[in-house]
């Protein structure tokens, strides 16, 4: 943003161009020196090497492993699709996906609405703006494990500060982390607390690119603030919102550290997220099943994100 407006070269471009810009690179291509042709490959090489070594190779390894009954030592036996059949017919797998789905419902819609609301307010005010921005990013820079620990202590049923506050206004204590009904909302609250500030910043950057003149024109036409929000702000924020939606969806389905530290997946299996369920195979040395579970999770996560990307494209 700043780079674009501050750059002196932006002016150079305004001078009459001889031919359309899109055609220029093609005409020049066969005169390009080899160094320029080779350069991009050299530049992306480190990523490609890391990708091959630590993503592609492990992925193929996982695929092979998912068809075996390997437990981490001894011989592995080829068992075909047994792991997949086991998972797809087991309650645990579907329950873990369901838990992640419920967490998604508790988190993502509320987060997007909250982020738009906060960003619009932050954009409208002048005083204390910097202070609020800092406050909204503090949770984001706090280490997750530290937050998880604070949550354990704050939401303790008998000695926690939250129940102490409830008690102060005459309400009975709640078993935040020890009852199936409350554990998921309590984790969702942790996630919301931790990440909403980041989404606010993304939305805020989208807001700052909207032409102010649009609002003035709308105001002259008699559109109220609510009307302006729905007819100008939200449609023009679509890309920022979609970006946040995909990013947060990925994050929720990958959620692992929060339940791992705070609830260990309990009570019963109420907070065993898809990620944690997968991890449990590893700790039981049930590696073949774990590998099959990995692939199913990848398929789910990709299907969901591609669905959102499609929605974005369809509206463009």
């Amino acid at each position: 943003m700043t780079t674009r407006s501050a750059s002196p070269a932006a002016k150079v471009y305004r001078e009459p161009a001889v031919e359309p810009r899109s055609r220029a690179p093609r005409r020049r291509r066969h005169t390009l020196p080899w160094r320029r042709l080779l350069a991009p490959y050299v530049f992306v090489l480190p990523f490609v090497l890391v990708f091959l070594a630590f993503s592609v190779y492990p992925l193929f390894f996982t695929l092979r492993l998912s068809f075996t009954d390997w437990h981490g030592s001894g011989a592995a036996h080829w068992i075909g699709f047994d792991n997949y059949r086991y998972l797809l017919t087991s309650n645990g797998f579907w329950a873990s996906l369901g838990n992640s789905g419920v967490l998604w419902l508790l988190i993502v819609p509320a987060q997007l609405v909250l982020a738009v609301l906060v960003a619009v307010l932050l954009n409208a005010i002048k005083r204390l703006r910097g202070f609020y921005r800092v406050a909204f990013v503090v949770p984001f820079v706090t280490p997750l494990v530290a937050v998880a620990q604070i949550w354990i202590v704050l939401f303790d049923q008998d000695n926690g500060a939250v129940n102490a506050m409830l008690g102060a206004v005459g309400l009975p204590p709640v078993g935040w982390l020890v009852t199936s009904g409350w554990a998921k909302p309590t984790l969702a609250l942790l996630f919301l607390w931790k990440t909403t500030g980041f989404v606010v910043l993304i939305v805020l950057s989208g807001l700052q690119q909207i032409d102010r003149g649009l609002y003035e024109a709308a105001a002259l036409d008699g559109a109220g603030r609510t009307r302006q929000l729905w007819s100008i702000t939200v449609p023009l924020l679509r890309r920022s919102l979609m970006f946040s939606l995909v990013l947060q969806t990925l994050a929720v389905f990958q959620m692992f550290a929060e339940p791992y530290v705070v609830t260990k997946g309990g009570p019963y299996t109420s907070t065993t997220t898809a990620g944690l369920y997968l991890y449990n195979h590893i700790t039981r040395a049930d590696l073949g099943t774990g590998a099959a579970n990995s692939f199913l999770l990848v398929i789910v996560v990709m299907a969901v994100s591609l669905l959102f990307v499609r929605l974005l494209r369809a509206e463009d």
Binding site: A9, A39, V48, V50, R133, P143, L144, Q149, Q254, A291
Partner: protein, 289 residues
């Protein structure tokens, strides 16, 4: 800025806006402030009266106990080493790759960028088993290489920087070419200075991600000698569920809050010092409307 006709309407909602934002701010800051304040209270007090705060009884006992119970010092050292090495690799390689994606047209570009997106979508946990086995094959279990190399060229950082670099005008690059600048020279002398706000944002983001990383270190650094700060902290959290024989609940709670405070304060200070760069960097890197 606004026309006269609009301005009077705005004064009243502003009060409401501030009230709303202030309530949210308090909710956001309260847990952190509470944790830091409580970590100085006697352990028994945190449990007996979690909301009270008596300056007369402040103590460092929780911190002393925590330093005795977990190797938090070596956790800091390990995290620091990983931070420097992995951070340097990310901060150099990710913008470089992003520059190639943003400013060059080359055969296979879409394929390789697809790989970036794939890496972005792969849950870390999915790669944990095979990566661990790969580390065993390489003899890298409980080594710094294992903590540093996987994920060292961060896909999110590439994705993010591509947005920033795309905003650098092509004419600037062409001008440098005309002046006889080499391809890498253009990156180093033209692109890098032009994207400084974005780089600063990426820097803070990278530090945060590495400092806070948990899933991979908890598996790859299973020995307490190699454990990073976050892994050390989580060990302490496991104790609270009663695994530790003879430890009483109040003591563990106090130590837990002390550990959380020790872990969050360095990043909090870093962020407050660099907040302007960080926020501008994120604003620069986000998706263009």
């Amino acid at each position: 800025m606004t026309t006269l006709g609009v301005r009077p309407r705005r004064t009243r909602p502003l009060l409401g806006s501030h009230a709303f934002l202030l309530v949210l701010t308090v909710a956001l800051l309260a847990p952190v402030v509470w944790a830091i304040l409580s970590s100085f209270k006697p352990a028994g007090e945190i449990i007996r009266d979690p909301l009270g705060f008596d300056p007369a009884t402040l103590t460092l006992a929780n911190f002393r106990g925590m330093f005795q119970d977990v190797p938090i010092g070596s956790g800091f050292i390990n995290t620091g080493l990983v931070l420097v090495a992995k951070g340097a690799i990310t901060m150099f390689c990710a913008p470089l790759a992003a520059y190639a994606f943003a400013k060059y047209r080359f055969a296979g570009r879409n394929l390789i960028f697809g790989a970036v997106l794939l890496t972005l979508m792969l849950p870390t946990i999915v790669l944990v088993i095979p990566l661990l086995l790969e580390m065993k094959e390489l003899g890298w279990v409980n080594t710094y290489q294992a903590l540093i190399l996987p994920g060292s060229v961060d896909a999110f950082a590439i994705f993010w920087m591509r947005q920033v670099i795309a905003a650098v005008p092509d004419e600037l690059l062409d001008a440098a070419r005309v002046d006889g600048c080499g391809e890498f020279g253009i990156f180093w002398r033209v692109v890098v200075p032009a994207i400084r706000p974005g780089l600063a944002g990426l820097g803070v983001l990278t530090i945060m991600n590495i400092y806070n990383d948990f899933v991979w270190p908890v598996v790859a650094a299973s020995s307490s000698r190699m454990a990073t700060l976050q892994v050390v902290l989580s060990t302490l959290a496991q104790n609270i569920s009663g695994n530790r024989v003879g430890a009483d609940y109040a003591t563990v709670t106090g130590e837990l809050l002390a550990a959380a405070s020790v872990a969050l304060v360095p990043l909090l200070i870093l962020f407050i010092v660099l907040q302007k760069h960080f926020i501008n960097g994120i604003l620069a890197g986000s998706v263009k409307g």
